[in-house]
């Protein structure tokens, strides 16, 4: 592309609706402030490179909490505090390892015997899973492509290592649908296999990526069945293993070390700008501070964390005095317990707080495409009137349905309207819960634009209510 005059027209067409009223002027000033002076990218660098992984209960969690509180204070909070909550403390306990072995049949032309081949698999234990013990578990692998197939082959499961090779669906445009679809195998797969006597489970990673990075995530044991070790396997290894299983018996030796330590103390980190007109009406905006241990948690959810802090910084920097109280919350333990979100709602209930709206960013620091809202029809209609003001900044798709797991409990407790930033979903599951979820895979402008669109919505809810 060397000539741009045509392309420029698109933008102009998109902005004719950009009426020159006070709101559009202020939203432009938010955008300029964040795009020019934004600290979110540098803050993300600190969170990912100086702290890194920060699973509930880990030393990283403690460091991240201290860092978050300091950032809230530095960024101009009227008040900033840590809200204590007990969090689960699952540890990986060592390196996850797996080796596959099979007999390569002798060639017809050769008079040699068959040869035993052994190959390492790139795996990672699922969060909350139990370990195999020191010796590991060895067993024959049973290839299962779907739960339907599991039911058909249930007689063959006993004593085997079940390998769920369910593919991430390419045909959904929104990749969260592929994730919901395939995610069942991570969540329910181990117990469904244990029901028929499996001794361990391998799960194909939930991703479109063509690399071999395994993707972790929490599994949920059904208490009706034995807990068995479970691990995710990288895509290339999954493909090779399934190909090998077409012709050969394959045994796998799996060694994982996951276990729970006693629950420990974690914290939601909260910064507040106190409302000038209606301080009792609370607007919450947040992301989660914890991440899986095998990555930097840059997109998930470092992005939501630094965007949350950025919105406060920009409001302060612009001298904006909110009418309502805005709480900026870095939630604890989203990944493997959800205790932070629950605690935030519980304390709000105990104090009989009035929660008007909550907004969550937990779908990565990618270019913003839209905003979603769950609330009454009246609230949704009001939300739609703001579309023209926000769309020029990227979030042009205003959808019904929005929220997230950390603000879900607030919605249940108070019928609080909840919203979410909806970034583009195409690249999210390339890196989600994998070692490739690192700072280098976050684009500065995409990250900052997420904060711009969220800040614009928060400003409008603060000014006009919802």
């Amino acid at each position: 592309m060397s000539r741009w005059h045509m392309l420029v027209l698109f933008f102009l067409a998109g902005t004719t609706a950009f009426s020159q009223n006070a709101d559009s002027v202020f939203i432009k000033s938010i955008s300029d402030e964040i795009l020019t002076n934004g600290k979110a990218y540098e803050n993300l660098r600190q969170l990912t490179k100086q702290i890194g992984g920060r699973l509930a209960g880990s030393p990283g969690m403690v460091k991240a909490e201290e860092w978050g509180l300091k950032k809230m204070q530095e960024s101009g909070a009227d008040k900033a505090w840590m809200q204590e909550c007990m969090v689960p403390h699952w540890v990986r306990g060592g390196k996850d390892e797996a080796k596959a072995s099979w007999n390569e049949p002798a060639k017809a032309s050769s008079n040699k015997n068959s040869v035993k081949l052994v190959r390492s698999l790139d795996i990672i234990a699922l969060g909350n899973s139990i370990g195999t013990g020191e010796k590991g578990i060895t067993g024959e692998v049973l290839l299962i492509n779907s739960f339907d197939e599991l039911e058909k082959k249930k007689e063959e499961v006993k004593g085997k290592i079940v390998f769920y090779n369910y593919r991430f669906n390419d045909t959904y445009i929104n990749t969260f649908l592929s994730y919901r679809d395939a995610g069942q195998y991570r969540g329910q797969g181990p117990s469904r296999a244990a029901k028929y006597g499996a001794k361990a489970v391998l799960v194909r990673s939930m991703t479109h990526a063509a690399d071999n990075n395994p993707h972790t995530g929490a599994t949920r044991y059904d208490s009706a069945y034995a807990k068995i070790p479970a691990a995710a396997i990288g895509l290339k290894d999954a493909d090779q293993l399934s190909a090998q299983l077409q012709n050969n018996q394959v045994n796998v030796t799996l060694k994982t070390n996951g276990h729970f330590l006693p629950d420990t103390i974690g914290h939601n980190i909260i910064g507040e700008l106190t409302g000038s007109a209606f301080p009792e009406e609370i607007i919450t905006v947040g992301g989660h501070l914890d991440s899986w241990d095998n990555c930097e948690g840059a997109h998930d959810d470092g992005a939501g964390v630094v965007q949350t802090i950025e919105i406060m910084r920009a409001f302060k920097s612009l001298g904006y005095k909110p009418r309502r109280t805005i709480r900026f919350v870095l939630f604890a333990n989203e990944e493997n317990g959800g205790r932070g979100g629950a605690k935030y709602a519980d304390e709000a209930k105990a104090k009989n707080e009035k929660h008007l709206f909550a907004l969550e960013s937990d779908a990565g620091g990618f270019t913003p495409r839209g905003l979603g809202l769950s609330g009454t029809e009246e609230q949704y209609q009001k939300f739609l009137t703001w579309r023209e003001l926000i769309a020029p900044y990227g979030a042009s798709e205003f959808n019904k349905g929005g929220g997230g797991s950390d603000i879900g409990p607030l919605s249940k407790a108070f019928n609080t309207a909840t919203g979410s930033l909806n970034p583009d979903t195409q690249r999210y599951f390339d890196i989600h819960h994998a070692r490739s979820d690192v700072f280098e895979n976050v684009n500065k402008r995409e990250l900052l634009l997420g904060a711009v669109n969220m800040a614009a919505l928060i400003y409008l809810v603060d000014k006009y209510g919802l």
Copy 2:
């Protein structure tokens, strides 16, 4: 993000309008075909890794043309041919080099003399620029932050190397606006400096990226003034050079070798699916096959090339028989001459062809956000009626104004309506015309989705006219 049930609602909301008529069913089949069996990504790997840079006149151009013709044939063209056109043949002629030197003043506490420091700069000659000659050009650097400043300092320019340090504007949301804004310094800068006697020009690269890769692109000499050598400089070096110039005189020795060889023969590569009902009505879809020499041209415009081929492949694979004739065109010489686009229109005029619509993809292989259309108001209104059918695949922003430099001549010749795929713009200028425009920076699904949205529009224009 470990819980997704909320997020899924967004997608469902976005697809309620997805009426189950024949068009939506066929567009879904296009999408499934491309997302599941698409060859665009592997084709891009071949084009970038086996051929690489392919500037007009280069050996890469010749290889790319052969490759393009073969791909058209393999992908099922009813006819495929090469349309000859003369192209300019600019060559870089060697490695571009620059060294900055200045005297570091002696410290007050020291009795030593000042020290001369020399530092290499990461530069790349602008396309179409003349070289410095073997010995290079040495001169004092004059820092110029804008054309206004150039006019104010015009008396100081004579004999100097002008360094335009105009910043890429952070506040535009559509980065093509920042490019138009800063691009003037690349296009006009050398001649405007030559007017006042400058001996060479350095230009700050046009990018938001924080790396030091210099970004080339074509300059345009004004024949009223002397041609002087001109090069782009990486952002880090630009910042350091401008900082140094606050306190010190800096000399730069620039060595570039660019020159023109005689015009040579290049080709547009054309594949055609001949219309079954109205074969005389032609719809064109294309991207440009040439790229700068300093990169793989993966996004610019390898993406447009492989998307164009992909649409034909998908139509053939689905057994789609177009009513009108669809031409799939890989244009020659977009980057530094535009001869391919001009030739295509000239031949169409000479043959008195009937061109209904032309669609171009030349803004990178990023996630699609919209489609733009330039045409009559009636055509635009018809285009808008298709929005609901296409929006579920990503191109939800239907804008007035669309086209591109390769199909511009067709529009001029016939008033043909022109359209463009509008991908997200945030990352484009990170890599545009820089050595980082490589295959690894293209995401498979983002690339394929671009083809899906283009194919849907082509299908609708083919079926209903425009």
